[in-house]
């Protein structure tokens, strides 16, 4: 079988790539992991909420030293997507302090990260600078 599979289950590839959060039906707190209950209010019911694909870099670091097998340097960041914070790498940008700036406007982007023995291609996501 061939096809594609997202890196994480909260990355939805069709029709256009976007992120989906688990949103508490009671207090609207958003989470990206599988939930047992809401950490904010304790309720156990969640809806799916689409996360805006445009955002602003609220924090970043350029990682030059990581665990074995992880290519460096890479830019890790917190992106504020219109009120929902997302953890992601910044991609398609030079990983240095001249090109990456706090407050930079970015947009969700995807890239293929490899194909397994069954021909399935995994698709990862990051955020790239908006409008070059």
């Amino acid at each position: 079988m061939s096809g594609t599979i997202p890196l994480v289950d909260y990355l939805v590839l069709d029709p256009e790539p976007h992120l989906v959060a688990n949103e508490c039906t009671n207090c609207k707190a958003k989470f990206f992991d599988r939930r047992n209950a809401c950490a904010s209010c304790g309720h156990t019911d969640f809806d799916k909420a689409t996360v805006p694909t445009n955002g602003e870099v609220r924090a970043f670091t350029i990682v030059s030293f990581a665990a074995p097998g992880i290519p460096v340097p890479f830019v890790a960041a917190v992106v504020d997507c219109e009120g929902t914070s997302v953890r992601a790498n910044l991609i398609n940008v030079e990983p240095d302090a001249e090109h990456v700036q706090l407050g930079m406007k970015v947009h969700l982007a995807t890239y293929p990260m490899g194909t397994d023995d069954e021909g399935t291609e995994a698709i990862a996501f990051g955020f790239e600078p908006l409008g070059g």
Binding site: V8, A59, F65, P71, D116
Partner: protein, 400 residues
């Protein structure tokens, strides 16, 4: 503090650094016997033991320590709470005394960490294996390095950068200067792992780990132990004038975790729980930040020290950069911070750290800090944070 006062009767720390010839029990023994001797008491007088250790948390270091220094049958609590483990051990003894179950107890924190390298962050699987979603994110591959970073230098780099985004004024050089301060302070501390002054230029030119944190801006993994004997007011009154004279009052002992806020599960929020702990500690002690003569705060990275000036309310909200630039946190400034050298140079043997910073305060409050003495020190605050998160804040005061 509600109920009767608590006191540190005796306190001790090993030299931090590489101890290839000593195992965990050797270090724990040195600190424990040091604290008991410092307080003029013996193991058989202790009614509770709290033992902190992170890297061998399942090993029961508390009971192993008893088997070396005294199996007296008292309850042992083996505690772990990330980098707040040592402070948690002290809290456990304090709670036992406040609960009336003991009036003298021993808290120990010990870690063998020399050469440990990066903490957290995972290696990747082999190529070719079928992509199979697993875990709470349904991930088909390890996320460290693909969806941000899980390593501590990178997490805390973002904490400092986020502060800069919110309030402005931060730069690579500013963070390097904070590190320069602590390395400068360490030259006066014979128990620090590293005691070499470094210029901001040297620090900026060193190996980059996670921008803006270079290697000397990261806490030093090393071996070490620290221990404290905590006693009730009633127990202290039974002791000699000399023991009472050197006792240091625990005016506040607080532990918090992070309350839920937007983004707190994206990038750990080390701010809110620290601010909450500080507020509670000032209230419990009946003092304010302006009353502090010295502060030992959790500079696990230079980027972290900046935000904790603000979180501990040593400056006005948003004013941490100006606070640093004013010279206040230098040892000759108005609010000396990390005169021990901090985690960046004194070292960070995780479970020992939260007791070693109490040792630093107590040593100054007793007027026994030698070349690095902050003259006339009467009140000090110690802060640790363990990612996950847990925050310990203690306020100590010189005996009246």
């Amino acid at each position: 503090m509600a109920g009767e006062d608590l006191w540190i009767l005796g306190i001790s720390m090993t030299k931090f650094g590489k101890h290839p010839d000593k195992d965990t029990l050797d270090l724990a023994t040195e600190a424990a016997l040091g604290a008991l001797g410092d307080g003029g008491v013996e193991m058989r007088q202790m009614q509770v033991l709290a033992s902190g250790n992170l890297m061998a948390a399942a090993a029961g270091i508390g009971q192993q320590l008893q088997k070396q220094i005294g199996q007296t049958g008292i309850p042992v609590y083996n505690v772990t709470n990330a980098c707040a483990t040592g402070a948690t051990a002290v809290r456990v003894v304090a709670m036992a005394i406040k609960a009336g179950e003991a009036d003298m107890g021993l808290a120990v924190g010990v870690e063998k960490l020399a050469g440990a390298g990066l903490l957290a962050g995972g290696a990747r699987k082999q190529d070719g294996e079928a992509w199979t979603p697993s875990g709470r994110y349904g991930a088909v591959a390890a996320l460290d390095g693909r969806v941000g970073t899980e390593t501590m230098p990178g997490v805390f780099a973002q904490v400092g950068m986020e502060y800069g985004h919110r309030y402005g004024g931060t730069s690579f050089e500013l963070f390097a200067k904070i590190s320069e301060k602590n390395h400068g302070h360490s030259t006066l501390n014979p128990k620090a792992a590293y005691t070499k002054a470094m210029s901001a230029e040297q620090i900026m030119g060193d190996i980059m780990i996670a921008y803006p944190n270079t290697r000397p801006m990261c806490s030093a993994n090393c071996d070490g132990a620290a221990a404290a004997v905590v006693v009730s007011d009633a127990a202290l009154k039974r002791l000699s004038p000399e023991q009472r004279r050197r006792a240091v009052k625990i005016s506040a002992s607080i532990l918090t975790t992070d309350p839920w806020e937007e983004a707190c599960q994206i990038l750990p929020d080390v701010n809110t729980l620290t601010r909450n702990a500080a507020k509670q500690a000032y209230e419990q002690a009946g003092v304010g930040p302006e009353d502090l003569d010295l502060v030992e705060l959790h500079d696990c990275f230079a980027t972290a020290e900046l935000v904790h000036y603000d979180n501990l309310m040593l400056c006005e909200q948003g004013g941490a950069v100006d606070f640093f630039n004013s010279g206040a946190p230098f040892r000759d400034g108005s609010m000396p911070v990390n005169v021990s050298g901090g985690l960046e140079s004194k070292g960070h043997p995780i479970a020992a750290t939260g007791i070693a910073n109490l040792y630093e305060l107590a040593t100054h409050l007793r007027g026994e800090a030698g070349d690095r003495q902050i003259e006339g020190a009467r009140v000090g605050l110690a802060h640790v944070i363990g990612l996950g998160s847990a925050c310990g804040v203690h306020i100590l005061e010189k005996a009246a």
